[in-house]
Subunit: 183 residues, 4 copies
Amino acid sequence: MEKYQIGVVVGSIRRDSFNQMMSGALANLAPAEFSFKQLKIDDLPLYNQDDDGSPSDSVVRLKKEILSAHGLLFLTPEYNRSIPGVLKNALDHASRPYGQNAWAKKPAGVVGVSIGPSGTAMAQQHLRNILAYLDVATLGQPEVFLQAKEGLFDESGNIGASAKDFLQEWMNRYVAWVKMHAA
Amino acid sequence: MEKYQIGVVVGSIRRDSFNQMMSGALANLAPAEFSFKQLKIDDLPLYNQDDDGSPSDSVVRLKKEILSAHGLLFLTPEYNRSIPGVLKNALDHASRPYGQNAWAKKPAGVVGVSIGPSGTAMAQQHLRNILAYLDVATLGQPEVFLQAKEGLFDESGNIGASAKDFLQEWMNRYVAWVKMHAA
Amino acid sequence: MEKYQIGVVVGSIRRDSFNQMMSGALANLAPAEFSFKQLKIDDLPLYNQDDDGSPSDSVVRLKKEILSAHGLLFLTPEYNRSIPGVLKNALDHASRPYGQNAWAKKPAGVVGVSIGPSGTAMAQQHLRNILAYLDVATLGQPEVFLQAKEGLFDESGNIGASAKDFLQEWMNRYVAWVKMHAA
Amino acid sequence: MEKYQIGVVVGSIRRDSFNQMMSGALANLAPAEFSFKQLKIDDLPLYNQDDDGSPSDSVVRLKKEILSAHGLLFLTPEYNRSIPGVLKNALDHASRPYGQNAWAKKPAGVVGVSIGPSGTAMAQQHLRNILAYLDVATLGQPEVFLQAKEGLFDESGNIGASAKDFLQEWMNRYVAWVKMHAA
């Protein structure tokens, strides 16, 4: 049944992260043949090229999980008009050593929630630059810039009424995007 | 024979543009089923939203040519750490009016030649941001950042020996990219 | 009395541009020793390096006006997640020919109004990259990302109540920024 | 004698980092009234907003050192077309909690060494976006995009002959920039 496994990367590691909540709510909009697994990034060391020859267990695990996925889903807040350092650190780890970029050729979607309306938009501009280099093809439209406000989620933690149709449309395009690239 | 028509957009309008020369040399690396047609952008007016209802003939022509293409090829120099205004003006015209973006869903490649080694690289970061919004899926790797120097072209105007294998590899991936999206 | 002359560049050339309106409303918040003059950019040709030796009258005029200013004020909407082509075209013209960049060393402020809340934010990221290269020092905080909505302006075309204190604070910092760099 | 203390942030934490070497070599070009102290960033935890109320000793130390500096010097390699995660993580830590951004109002210079010629250029575009938001005024020209190649350093670890005059000119402008902002 679950033919497409998606590796989910959430750019915030705080407990009640809106992006964390969104990752679960989005998964509920996907068809049954898609499964979502969050990639753990909060136990990675700071990337140091001197360690390329002896990566930590957490780095080995991350790369293995990426390689086994059919597609990727990034959810990013904005820290200081770019992506969080913790997200960039994970991107750096799994791209190394040179020639062994685990992210390569995985189709991806990019989504974000931020407190202000324009935060995640600016973070996603940087993220798309990075992902293009990593040979990750990202779905262009619709862009998903969500503001963390009343009603974004309903009481069950699902997408609230105001954004539901829009995000269902996004999911439909994302599913087609992954299938096209995985074919 | 020519099943895939590619609309080529060259970001410089000077006569002896390196990017103009590169557009012709690249076309020679493509298989026979691909044809390349340059989209004229040097006779467009400066974009003014007030004219959305009565576009000039040059704008109508540009949009029509984009819509009939199966894919796009952008060649951009760098002006002031971004894409030339003349290229952005063309992107703006064909994206309008709202809801009638002619670029949408065309797969694209991004290539560039600049005098310094890092110029087109920075311009392409901005261009990829713009194209993602326009729903143009751009090939990620290999990136093509070419420096305008001795030997880039041979005496016949074809790609010189130093870059030939690399650009043939790029073309092969570009061809596959267009075919996948056009399928 | 008017010791500091500011060259104003508005990135949209449509008649009822919100950024055009904002440029006038902002000028009203400045002290008497500051005067603002809009730099005309809608009659520039598309930049072509072949014309560097024989610039049009409109280009000569633009460069002369920039050189006589003590500071700059940019107001930019967002077109396709970047600055308008018409604005980039003006930036390109006045930066050329090589070694004769008229913008250099002018302190500047960057402001923008867009329909969506995140548009001008993304455009300003690109604009700041360009201005850094042009050796234009831009005021960092507060950032001014304004949404074109009810109440942005009052009936007289001045800043409405909701944004007035914020923009007066911005103007105070901008004035100090220009004075420091012009000293 | 040492009137201006500069906090130096090196974006790579590997032992033989070219940017680390460059930080020492650059300091030798400065006048006697400038002193340079590297800010340690390799012992910071991954930033987690949940810890804002109880920052680690390393975070407290970093913020204290920034606050006591008159200016900043950033040296950044490029990882995946942006700044390293480890550098972004440091930027994030010292910018928080909300309203207590330690970087604010410090004048800064941005320099970088990368293996390829265009790497640090692209990283610096993102870094300047981030620093503008953090209210750090960065020197625009000359840009410093250095390629790690034979002769960049001499046998004593000082700047080699090919780049010495250029970097001395940069240092002279940087010194004037810091003095103007610190006045």
